[in-house]
């Protein structure tokens, strides 16, 4: 049985980046203790019933003893309300949820993160290195503008790996998309690519891996009402028909498990 908890957690650190990106670090030892990279938490943005549902956020990184962070962009009602909070405020979290990345003994690994999809990459990289599961993983990050990924690239570099970046507006690194950077990977190596980001980006990464014969794991996003495998709302199509559920069977899938229409 998966171990998961419903906890009230205090925000011990609140950071703001670019115009609309927020990082909250919570003290949630029970959740942090069992969390795996690629898993997520369901967060209640405040009291009352408008907005009603919890919002899903991937676990961005662990720090100190029992602290875990989420990194989110302000989009709609829920994230807007969350962004008003600060250090000392308490939030209701449920997690860790879902099935994360599988990287035991994976050989050459490449992490490809785009936009907010970069969030789970830090935790994945840190665990890979800690568990010595992959030798010198490569990291490719893409975002619209430098301010959305410079601090993230720096923090991953601080773990001792090489990080290559691309920005849509060319304000940092390669002027283009993160998929362009994949050409820099030596073709013959048996890469396993771990990717998360906007759907079109992931579709391109999966296509590239297919052509190059590399294995690929994707972390998907769908609308979620529960995140607890109860509502069956988070369906994604399987190539052979029928559906898998992102909160239960994912959010991380082997690329071939899901249909990429």
């Amino acid at each position: 049985m998966i171990q998961a908890f419903q906890k009230k957690a205090v925000i011990v650190r609140a950071e703001r980046f670019a115009a609309d990106i927020v990082r909250f670090t919570f003290h949630a030892p029970d959740i942090a203790r069992v969390a795996r990279p690629g898993q997520f938490v369901m967060v209640l943005s405040g009291p009352g019933s408008d907005p009603l549902l919890r919002r899903p956020f991937s676990i961005h990184r662990l720090s100190g003893d029992g602290n875990l962070s989420i990194l989110f962009k302000v989009l709609g009602k829920g994230t807007r309300r969350l962004a008003l909070l600060g250090e000392g405020d308490e939030l209701d979290l449920v997690g860790p949820l879902g099935r994360g990345f599988r990287f035991e003994g994976v050989g050459p690994a490449c992490l490809v993160g785009g936009g907010m999809g970069i969030a789970p990459m830090h935790f994945l990289l840190a665990e890979m290195l800690r568990e010595k599961a992959a030798s010198a993983p490569r990291v490719l990050l893409g975002a619209r503008i430098a301010a959305e990924l410079d601090f993230l690239a720096a923090e991953m570099e601080a773990l001792g790996v090489q990080v290559t970046v691309a920005t849509d507006d060319g304000s940092l690194g390669h002027h283009g998309t993160v998929v362009d950077l994949m050409h820099r990977l030596e073709e013959k190596k048996p890469w396993t690519v771990f990717t998360c980001g906007p759907h079109p980006m992931m579709r391109a990464v999966v296509g590239y891996c297919g052509r190059a014969g590399w294995r690929c794991q994707v972390s998907l996003e769908t609308m979620m009402a529960c995140g607890l495998a109860a509502c069956l709302g988070c369906a994604v199509s399987r190539p052979e028909g029928g559906y898998l559920h992102v909160c239960k069977d994912g959010p991380v899938f082997a690329a071939e498990e899901v249909a990429w229409l």
Binding site: Q6, S49, R54, M223, A229, C231, L232, V236, G242
Partner: protein, 307 residues
């Protein structure tokens, strides 16, 4: 003499429940999913996801969307089917000290009868909840629950073969819910539960597309509570069989309001997504409520509305 520990036991026909708090079908999976968050033994009852004869894949996504104090769902009754339910889901449920109610759904009268037959006498199935909000494909897709005669027929068909108490779950999308409730009572139902979801829709003005792939879906959550409460009050006065109240219940206060309106028990649905421990919080809250009201048993609250 202050009330020490209020007695929360209630009866739905021959089904004895240790308290009036059940889970609503489709919002608690098959029970196991909530084990990390809820002491399942403290629940009055667990109503599992709607079961059909054959497994159903459900509708294409998107299947859920948030609305003001509510949500729309068009899951499409995805479920494992009665065989796999009995083989794979029931074993865990049998280990619990909490009655399990199996919600059944079908496209025709015969579907419902066969389901009741296959579940008859199955250990671990304490009662059946018949979801008559489904379209009757033989009658141009008109929902069983909107035509009194069809509601009576499906109830009678299930009662003929069921070995467990039969609760019939009513659709709120009707002109007069009491007409359907009486028809179902005539058909031999042991109890009625209401409400199922209100038919609704959401549109994304920017893309000009419906937010649900299925275009329409079922509305649930706090937004529907006033309608659900009114229908429970009307129904409890129209029939003599027990009424199970469902619709926007999230707190013990909400639950008490439905009991006062005449419900013998209540089901918690959408609130489980917002607060996974909603059900057990409500059980504890009902005990507090009884103490505050100075009643020794929750039964004294049932139908206690002062009109």
């Amino acid at each position: 003499m202050a009330v020490t520990k209020p007695d929360l036991q209630v009866h739905i026909g021959s089904l004895a429940l240790k308290n009036p708090v059940l889970t609503a079908s489709g919002t608690f999976g098959y029970g196991e999913e909530f084990a990390p968050f809820v002491d399942l033994a403290r629940l009055g009852g667990i109503v599992v996801k709607g079961i059909s004869l054959a497994p159903r894949p459900g509708n294409p996504p998107p299947r859920v969307v948030e609305t003001a104090c509510g949500m729309l769902n068009a899951i499409g009754l995805e479920n494992v089917g009665v065989e796999r339910f009995i083989a794979e889901k029931l074993p865990f449920l049998r280990t619990l000290a909490t009655p399990v109610v199996v919600n059944i759904l079908g496209d025709s009268l015969d579907d419902y009868r066969q389901l009741a037959e296959q579940l008859a006498g199955i250990d671990g199935v304490a009662a059946l909840e018949v979801n008559i909000s489904c379209p009757n494909v033989k009658k141009g897709g008109v929902a069983f629950g909107t035509v009194p005669e069809m509601a009576r027929a499906v109830t009678a068909a299930v009662k003929q073969v069921a070995s467990q108490p039969v609760i019939v779950k009513l659709s709120p999308n009707v002109t007069d819910i009491t007409e359907i409730a009486r028809a179902v009572e005539d058909g031999g139902a042991d109890a009625v539960s209401l409400i199922n979801t209100l038919l609704g829709m959401a549109i994304d003005a920017r893309s000009r597309r419906p937010r649900l792939a299925n275009v329409v879906g079922g509305l649930s959550g706090p937004a529907v509570k006033p309608v659900a409460l009114r229908m429970v009050w009307q129904t409890a006065r129209a029939v003599s069989i027990p009424v199970v109240g469902i619709g926007g219940i999230a707190t013990a206060e909400d639950a008490a309001e439905f009991l006062l309106a005449g419900a013998t028990a209540i089901q918690v649905g959408t609130a489980n997504f917002v607060n996974p421990a909603a059900t057990t919080d409500i059980v504890a809250g009902l005990e507090r409520y009884c103490r505050e009201q100075n009643v020794s048993s929750v039964r004294e609250v049932i139908g206690g509305l002062r009109v």
